[in-house]
């Protein structure tokens, strides 16, 4: 099992717009093969921090995800709403 944490620092006035597009990503991604869970989370102290926490069956499913229509279309939009580059980590469980 692969866990992904993708943290975005969103422009203050773009938070609502980010959430709207991010929810479309969630909706499309949870239907993908190999996706165990994929959710959107907001920091309780800083609403500009919006993070996808994801569980994938294996690296192959994650790689396939990156080539989907919804990722190639929506990720550039999400990035344009960020105030600075985010943090992306791919993890294995110990």
């Amino acid at each position: 099992m692969i866990k992904v944490v993708s943290k975005h620092y969103v422009k203050e006035d773009k938070v609502d717009e980010f959430i709207e597009y991010a929810k479309r990503m969630v909706e499309a991604t949870v239907k993908e093969e190999g996706c165990i869970s994929y959710g959107l989370f907001q920091d309780v102290k800083d609403q500009k921090i919006l993070t996808f926490i994801e569980e994938w069956e294996d690296m192959e499913s994650l790689e396939k995800h990156k080539t989907t229509e919804h990722v190639t279309r929506i990720v550039p939009i999400l990035r344009s709403l960020d105030e600075k580059p985010g943090d992306l980590n791919i993890y294995k469980q110990l």
Copy 2:
């Protein structure tokens, strides 16, 4: 439901020691009331990045966790093995 991501940047020569103590934290914490899941994860590209990904029923359980014997004893040890301060985020699901 509350999700916590606690990311540590561990000193290169202290990674094994960190994992040893972190596993004791996992073992004790999963038994706590209100803990849905609590796992230790390692970045697949950078083994010095070690992260706890946690799910708690509510803020109350998380607050109680911070006062447990294993947290007050083991967290200072884990921090002493870090090369720089880590990132701690507490999230709500959207």
